[in-house]
């Protein structure tokens, strides 16, 4: 059998693959635990574990001392906590985009990367959730006013507030993403159950697979539910980041109350998320020899989406400037100067770094060579990741420092605890990702088999067509 390169110079699955070679490449990463006893697994998770300890120390000190250990104070009531919240939740959005929106659009290349990015979504939302929860100072008390929980005070949350919308949006998003992820894992757990020879492994995966046996009748209902969940997740992901942007856009703070915020935030989220998928997929692909299943074509297409969403974000920045100018009020003009005057304003470097990282560097992806080179993929993704963090920094604390009443405007400086908490969540995220790679199949086994089957069918029809054109080409 010839390989798929005949049909497409850059196919989605490389080499001569059968269903069992796919199992060997993906499922056996989990089954053969010895494959992880190497530096490649222990080094990242070791560093991540240290950072998780930094997080725990920070959270401990925060709960003991109160949120005064952070740098934010009136007028800058929101700073690192909300910057990091929006940054993390944005990173999570690529997972839902890949698993749901690309499924609805029948983009089959998603099959090789959706599991990985869905896991990323879940862990990123966990990291995101920590910030607003801890910003309440005492999360166990916050329960009364975050959720409509009947309590002896007889009061309820105020549902006209975007912050309440946020609570519902993020918790719904987390729940639905988790369920969607688990549903996708059930058939793969069955594969792991049937492949493993270790008794305990078999028990655990059998338990998790719910006794899945691949019955056609089960697949029938499974696919209906899966497709409809994708259909629900699509508006959900758009609504979540729109609602996150409402936290700002519904207020009257200069630099926040702009109608372009919802689409601009959603595009920014996808932008940052795809950059993160590229950034994490490259080492994982190398470490576990997944080059045949996650190919350069995947990176090429992810880079294209990054570029496209980057351009939407650039449009958002332009509109921010336009609104600032067109508003015609003193405070809006002051805000523009505050952000952009490189020689006089203290944080303007953040604005220009953001333009460099988010608009200028990603333009490299117009070049096909850059889209398919590890160096450029990593460079641009890192740049976007930093740039998107700076974007939220420019929008959130930098808008708050400048108030309507000049006498109350104050500089904001983050403290060491702001940084340690942020770095700690990065450690938490990496630790969860690396545990995921070790104990769950990082690539969707049954969907890659489905993709392989479709490629077989495609190749066969292509051959038949070729035969038909050569034999019928005389008239």
């Amino acid at each position: 059998m010839s390989s798929y390169e005949d049909l497409d110079p850059l196919p989605l699955i490389l080499g001569d693959q059968t269903y069992s070679t796919i199992d060997e490449q993906i499922a056996d990463v989990v089954i053969d635990q010895k494959r992880h006893n190497k530096k490649t697994w222990f080094m990242p998770i070791g560093i991540a574990f240290l950072l998780v300890n930094v997080l725990l120390v920070t959270v401990g000190w925060l709960l003991y001392q109160g949120i005064g250990i952070w740098g934010n104070n009136i007028p800058t009531a929101w700073a690192f906590d909300i910057v990091n919240f929006v940054w993390w939740i944005g990173i999570g959005h690529a997972g839902t985009l890949i698993s749901a929106i690309l499924l609805l659009m029948r983009q089959q290349w998603r099959n090789s990367i959706n599991r990985f990015s869905e896991a990323m979504t879940i862990f990123a939302v966990m990291c995101a959730g920590m910030f607003p929860l801890l910003h309440t100072g005492r999360p166990w008390v916050a329960f009364y006013w975050l959720f409509p929980f009947p309590n002896i005070l007889g009061i309820w949350p105020q549902f006209k507030s975007p912050l309440m919308w946020d609570v519902f949006a993020v918790s719904t998003y987390f729940t639905v993403s988790l369920v969607f992820w688990y549903i996708g894992l059930i058939p793969d757990f069955a594969t792991l159950r049937d492949r493993s020879t270790n008794k305990y492994q078999k028990y655990i995966y059998a338990f998790l697979s719910l006794g899945w046996r691949g019955s056609a009748k089960h697949w029938h209902r499974y696919e209906q539910a899966y497709l409809l969940l994708a259909g629900l997740s699509t508006p959900l992901v758009l609504s979540v980041h729109s609602i996150v942007s409402f936290d700002f856009a519904v207020s009257v703070v200069p630099g926040w109350n702009i109608t372009v915020f919802p689409p601009y935030f959603v595009a920014g989220a996808v932008f940052a998320g795809f950059a993160m998928v590229i950034l994490l997929m490259i080492p994982v692909r190398k470490m576990y020899g997944l080059e045949n299943i996650v190919t350069m074509k995947h990176f090429d297409w992810m880079a294209k989406i990054t570029l496209a969403t980057g351009l939407i974000v650039a449009y958002g920045y332009t509109l921010e400037l336009f609104y600032g100018w067109y508003a015609g009020t003193k405070i809006e003009h002051e805000l523009l100067t505050w952000r952009m005057d490189f020689f006089h304003k203290p944080y303007s470097w953040a604005y220009w770094m953001l333009i460099l990282c988010n608009i200028i560097v990603p333009q490299a992806f117009w070049n096909k060579k850059c889209r398919q080179s590890y160096f450029w993929l990593i460079l641009v993704s890192l740049s976007v990741t930093v740039g998107m963090w700076l974007e939220r920094f420019v929008i959130i604390p930098m808008s708050l420092m400048n108030t309507y009443l000049p006498s109350s405007s104050r500089m904001y400086y983050p403290t060491i605890w702001d940084f340690s908490m942020f770095i700690g969540t990065i450690g938490f995220f990496i630790m969860m990702m690396w545990l995921f790679i070790r104990f769950l199949p990082a690539i969707n086994v049954f969907e890659v088999k489905d993709l392989l089957h479709k490629m077989h069918v495609q190749k066969r029809t292509h051959k038949e067509e070729a035969v038909a054109t050569t034999s019928g080409g005389t008239h």
């Binding site: 105020q158 519902f168 729940t175 056609a216 089960h218 697949w219 959900l236 489905d450």
Partner: protein, 178 residues
Amino acid sequence: MAKARYYGIAAQFESPDDLMAAVRRSREAGYSRMDAYTPFPIHGLTDEMRFRDERVPLFMFLGGLIGAISGFFLQTYTNAWDYPFNVGGKPLIGYPAWVPITFECTILFSALTGVLSMIIMNGLPQPYDPMFNIPSFARASQDRFFLCIEARDPNFSPTEVTTFLETLNPLTVEAVPR
């Protein structure tokens, strides 16, 4: 021969196409109680088996409807009836501000109903199934495709079904004990 000793007769195939052809021929031969077992969903297989179940989408729709109503009711009850709360002079039932939470509740209820109804109607979790009795069935989740003609089929007779399945180009044909 007592039917009850068997769950059915299962044939193992190497490719989805063989399985699809086998299902078609079994149906043409008059068998109606059968199921196929595959490592990944194969489109058209249930159509070929004349199996159709549209209840999951229906339940998801109803779940969404209940979610929308409860989301809206939750906000109306808490902020307008139980503890009327004046926010900036806005109307008590300020429904435009309630769209986001109503929407999120719709999605949440619909998604959870969908997942639960799929799992429950599939009879999961189910640790034991007669199909697991045949040793080669472990490959149904890996790279083999199974067709089982069940004993509850009115035309079932172990010998006839075995001979019939052997004409379909299978890798193996095995009786599935109960």
